[in-house]
């Protein structure tokens, strides 16, 4: 059985790199949508293996990073309510909101807990029946089906104290917004592997069809990413534009239909606020009316306060692929992982954090 290590084997690298070099006759800029890909690229020094004609640009695929201050402020306000446990993935704790962070709110004595899974949040609801448990639901289509399943499970069990604050967002709509903006000039898209494991490769069709941009769905190991770049490079060389799957062991064209059904059963498309972009129609997920009993926004009285943005922070530009972390005046000087100004420096998938940790001369 092929293991994860097999997709990291150094002796197989040269073969793929050789193929990329043969086909990379034109200059091409590819965007890796997903923050997980940005980290994998930097951690493995992938750019050092590519010819100078290929440029890789980071995209908006970090659900923590694209969470707007106004939305984070809602979570912070909820956390301050009495008899309420605010439950979140770890990454969100240190992200600065307008004036505070979940970490600060926790240090002030409020009940904020880190979990790995919405199932942990469900368990907290079961064992703390006197309190309300609100799960801060951040994530793309990889995560939303699991959260949806947790709501269904809560309903099945008759849990009355489990709530979701949905900040879920969808990937294809934001990609369309970025392409329509005309700010970036892409010759290929490295499509997120695990989002696509859920939604399939079909939803990316419009990028190849309407915009003429090659798309390849990629896995996260170094060989996966190199294979993806090779396939994109070949499409560019042949002047083709289609959607291909490199990550065949995890992704099919139709995706995971069960997961999609569960997600659609519980959630409906809704407008969402994207950091650096603003509101985008039908790019987020909100609980359907029949699940309103689980909706934190409808069941609690809280005031997030006025929204403020951090001066000088260009996370928004970085997420749109328009600027790199090195072009930010605050990068390394003021904004560091110890004292972050924006979420891109905090999140484990944030571009700024990845460049900071793994090195700028790793970059082209």
């Amino acid at each position: 059985m092929a293991t994860v290590d097999d997709f990291r084997r150094s002796e197989l690298v040269a073969g793929i790199v050789s193929s990329i070099n043969r086909h990379a006759t034109r200059e091409a800029r590819f965007m890796e949508f997903c923050g997980g890909h940005t980290v994998a690229i930097l951690k493995n020094g992938i750019r050092q293996l590519l010819p100078p004609t290929i440029i890789l640009t980071s995209g908006p695929g970090c659900p923590v990073c694209v969470t707007d201050n106004a939305d984070l402020d809602k979570a912070i306000a909820l956390a301050k309510l009495p008899d309420l446990i605010l439950v979140s993935f770890g990454d969100m704790l240190r992200v600065p909101g307008s004036c505070s962070s979940l970490q600060e709110v926790r240090a002030a004595g409020n009940d904020v807990r880190i979990v790995y899974s919405p199932l942990d949040a469900l368990e907290l609801a079961r064992t703390n029946s006197q309190k309300s448990v609100v799960f801060l639901a951040v994530g793309f289509e990889t995560t939303a089906p699991g959260v949806a399943a947790s709501v269904l499970q809560a309903k099945q069990e008759g849990l009355k104290n489990y709530y979701i604050l949905s900040l879920h967002k969808l990937c294809p709509p934001i990609t369309k917004v970025l392409l329509d903006s005309g700010e970036i000039n892409l010759q290929g898209l490295i499509c997120p592997g695990h989002v696509s494991a859920i939604i399939g490769s079909e939803p990316w069709q419009f990028i190849a069809g309407d915009y003429g941009i090659p798309c390849v769905v990629s896995g996260f190991e170094p060989l996966d990413i190199l294979q993806c770049v090779d396939m994109l490079t070949q499409q560019v060389a042949r002047e083709e534009a289609k959607v291909e799957i490199a990550y065949k062991r995890g992704v099919t064209p139709q995706g995971n239909q069960t997961a999609i059904k569960i997600m659609e059963q519980v959630f409906q498309p809704a407008p969402a606020n994207w950091r650096g972009v603003g509101e985008v129609a039908d790019s987020g997920l909100a609980l359907r009316p029949e699940f309103k009993d689980f909706d934190a926004e409808l069941n609690f009285d809280f005031d997030p306060g006025p929204t403020k943005t951090q001066k000088g922070c260009i996370c928004g530009d970085i997420l749109r692929g328009v600027k790199t972390p090195q072009e930010c005046k605050l990068f390394r000087k003021v904004c560091t992982p110890v004292s972050p100004v924006g979420p891109c420096m905090v999140s484990s998938e944030g571009s700024c954090a990845a460049y900071y940790h793994y090195g700028e001369d790793n970059e082209r």
């Binding site: 197989l12 040269a14 193929s19 970090c62 994530g139 995890g250």
Partner: protein, 78 residues
């Protein structure tokens, strides 16, 4: 947050499975992949199995990489 790792299902109890990666054992929910069987490899993300890993495709992809490595060597030798 897109972190998902391949793990193997060692036993199933209703909608819950015991999964293993190396010597680490953990529980996973099969709500999203109810068709998964014991012995299957699945991608585990935030406590849920989000997809079944297609082992045949995995092997094929690796074969492809090996072919590319061989092809490159052949070209050097020419």
């Amino acid at each position: 947050m897109c972190l998902a790792i391949p793990v193997q299902i060692t036993s199933i109890n209703g909608t819950e499975a015991d999964v293993r990666v190396g010597n680490i054992v953990k529980k996973a929910s099969l709500w999203l992949t109810p068709q998964a069987k014991v012995g299957d490899y699945v991608l585990l993300h935030t406590g849920y199995a989000i997809a079944i890993v297609d082992e045949a495709e995995a092997e094929e992809t690796l074969s492809l990489f090996r072919e590319m490595a061989d092809k490159m060597e052949d070209q050097w030798q020419q």
